[in-house]
């Protein structure tokens, strides 16, 4: 680790501040540029023109843009130096042998043993750790990118990065350039799948400073219904970086319920970019549950692209110790009669920090937009920090939009009430913390998963607080 910073330190002592920043920034990105040169020709789909071009464009943009800095409005409160000061490398091939650890089991094994489970280790699909993937229900297609490129590259091309490109940053561009596998899910017209599908993205490595690039592409065709639970788990006590990218497309009158859980280790960094595109009368329910991680950043962008589209974005983040959890969401109301409901709740303890930045953009012709955005925070310590910025930008004149944020401490009257009934102080506090969180858990409309998550959340809250 000292090696990585040595050069920077030398420049700091020799050069002026400005020069240092410039050179240092170049150093930070050149590591990835070199790495790209090295692996470029062996990356997945190198022989496919659209992918080759896509990667080339991404790395060129990355070279141009670099990593975000504190001067960028969207990164003002999120110090990424712990990431950019290190040189993260792809894991070696033999690093992807999964050693199952005890602690993974609680979340993995309890969740739907009879359900379809797709497991990715360090960004690569692992059939041997997946479950119930033979004899998929009719209309459901699940393939990793490798098979898609082999069997039907034209289908992949049709849906891959099919959105208008907005809001990319240095991190998401790195995924665009380096991803080496991914998961493609599609559900055919009219198929309603009640059972949820589990996507397990596990990071494990015996070497420090590894970066992995998971990728998900999901398409729900007309009148179909899909439930996804994505678990992001990492328990290694070494620094690692997850740069993930997800694209979800809801065709007319379809519904995707997408629950993303992040349970990274205290030394893990996870930066995710999630994009959803909604067509006419479709619905997208997102539940983002950030349980742990040294730094977690979620960029969630939803485009309500056609009339009648509706999204529900819920989030729950728990931060303690020195953790930083940052949620940036953007909802674009592009067409009339579109609806969005957003509720993010955070519980902070220790010296942790959280950022909520919610942006609702009502475009000029999106009349009759109905948008509601709320962020609520419960601060349990004196030293934690929350930066909350709910935001509305409205360019239409006949809309119903409301937003707000609250930051509070535990209600002492309620605490007294519980204690006066004999419930010890600590237990009463935990009960109230859990009650605060349950508003989000109760809204995950995947019952079996909800039942599994409830005790896990309870235990984490108990242990953490």
């Amino acid at each position: 680790m000292i090696l990585h910073t040595q050069e920077g330190v030398r420049y700091l002592t020799k050069e002026s501040g400005n020069k240092f920043n410039m050179i240092s920034t170049n150093q930070k990105i050149s590591h990835y540029l070199h790495a790209f040169q090295k692996v470029e020709n062996s990356l997945l789909g190198n022989e496919i023109p659209f992918l080759r071009q896509f990667r080339a464009q991404a790395i060129a943009q990355f070279e141009n843009l670099g990593f975000p800095s504190a001067q960028d409005e969207d990164w003002r409160f999120t110090n990424i130096e712990n990431i950019t000061n290190k040189k993260f490398d792809l894991p070696a091939k033999d690093e992807t042998d999964y050693q199952k650890t005890e602690s993974h089991d609680s979340l993995l094994d309890d969740c739907g043993p009879n359900k379809i489970q797709l497991t990715f280790i360090n960004g690569s699909f692992k059939e041997e750790f997946s479950k119930n993937i033979k004899n998929l229900p009719s209309g459901l297609k699940i393939k990793n990118f490798k098979s898609m490129i082999k069997d039907e590259p034209e289908t992949l091309e049709k849906y891959f990065d099919s959105f208008e490109r907005r809001d990319f940053d240095g991190f998401s561009l790195l995924n665009d350039a380096f991803f080496n596998d991914g998961l493609f899910i599609s559900l055919a017209k009219g198929v309603v799948l009640k059972d949820e599908i589990y996507l397990n993205f596990i990071t494990q490595s015996s070497h420090k400073d590894h970066v992995v690039y998971p990728r998900l592409l999901c398409f729900a065709d007309r009148d179909s219904e899909l439930n996804l639970v994505e678990l992001n788990l990492g328990e290694i006590p070494l620094n690692y970086l997850v740069l993930s990218a997800s694209e979800l497309i809801c065709a007319e009158n379809s519904k995707i319920n997408y629950c993303k859980v992040q349970k990274e280790s205290r030394s893990g960094f996870h930066l995710a970019k999630i994009r959803a595109q909604l067509q006419r009368n479709s619905r997208f329910y997102s539940h983002s549950i950030a349980l742990s991680g040294s730094l977690v950043r979620n960029n969630l962008n939803v485009a309500l692209a056609e009339e009648g589209a509706e999204c529900v974005l819920n989030g729950l983040y728990l931060a303690s110790g020195q953790e930083l959890i940052d949620n940036h969401t953007q909802i674009d109301h592009l067409k009339p009669h579109t609806t969005s409901r957003e509720l993010y709740k955070g519980i902070l303890n220790g010296k942790s920090k959280a950022v909520f930045n919610g942006s609702i953009l009502v475009h000029a012709n999106a009349q009759k937009t109905d948008a509601l955005q709320t962020n609520k925070n419960l601060l349990l310590s004196q030293d934690c920090q929350i930066h909350t910025k709910p935001g509305l930008k409205i360019f239409a004149n006949d809309v119903k939009c409301k937003h707000g944020a609250t930051v509070g401490q535990m209600d002492q009257d309620v605490l007294f009430y519980l204690r006066s009934r004999g419930i010890p102080k600590e237990e009463a506090q935990k009960l109230l913390i859990y009650a605060f969180a349950s508003e989000i858990i109760d809204q995950i409309h995947i019952e079996t998963f909800q039942n599994q998550l409830t005790p896990i959340l309870f235990n984490i809250l108990m242990g953490k607080n």
Partner: protein, 247 residues
Amino acid sequence: MLQIKNLSASVDNKKILKDLNLEVKAGEVHAIMGPNGSGKSTLSQLLAGKEGYTLDGGEVLFEGKNLLTLSPEERASLGLFLAFQYPVEIPGVSNLYFLKSAYNALRKKRGEEELDAVDFMELVKEKSKLVEMNESFLTRPVNEGFSGGEKKRNEILQMIVLEPKLCILDETDSGLDIDALKVVSKGINATRSKNRGIILITHYQRLLNYCEPDFVHVLYNGKILKSGGKELALELEKHGYGWILES
């Protein structure tokens, strides 16, 4: 059971209780009446262990123990119960879970075995009948969206389930219609026993028509001005508090 000796307390440097004396023995029902601002609620909250009061003097013994040094949960486990004037709403915590947590916390503290969900449900179902609360109240979050009457009935339900030794009911009758008052009174009367003390804090005689007290005290300006039997309440109802202050 409860001995309050020369109790003086203040809030934000304002003296609320001044040299208050009261003794409640097992089996007795005491009514404390008094005009607004006389210190009734301060007294009940102070006894239950609410923070924010400064003790200026005196002491409170509960079964011989110095009550005021104990935490609210310790007081509860000794058998003290306060039915709140304004029960709080607790979104996200079901009534049943709350009751079970309280019940088992008390049992644990006493070294008794905790009751499992099934057994506890049976117990609560039985007790809810007494206060005419149907089962849907148990699954709803504590007091959330409850009417005033439902909140008070819920307080009585907790009291019946937790079986305290000393019950302090802080204006449990206020805001109740006549039917709800009867239900609440039924619950209180069922709680009456020779092993239990009850303090009814109230503005009105009408609760006392249903729950007859053994003693009536008039609290005014932080101290007990007059004590008597149940007939004192009738006089207060007829003549107000003025005649006591003049006498």
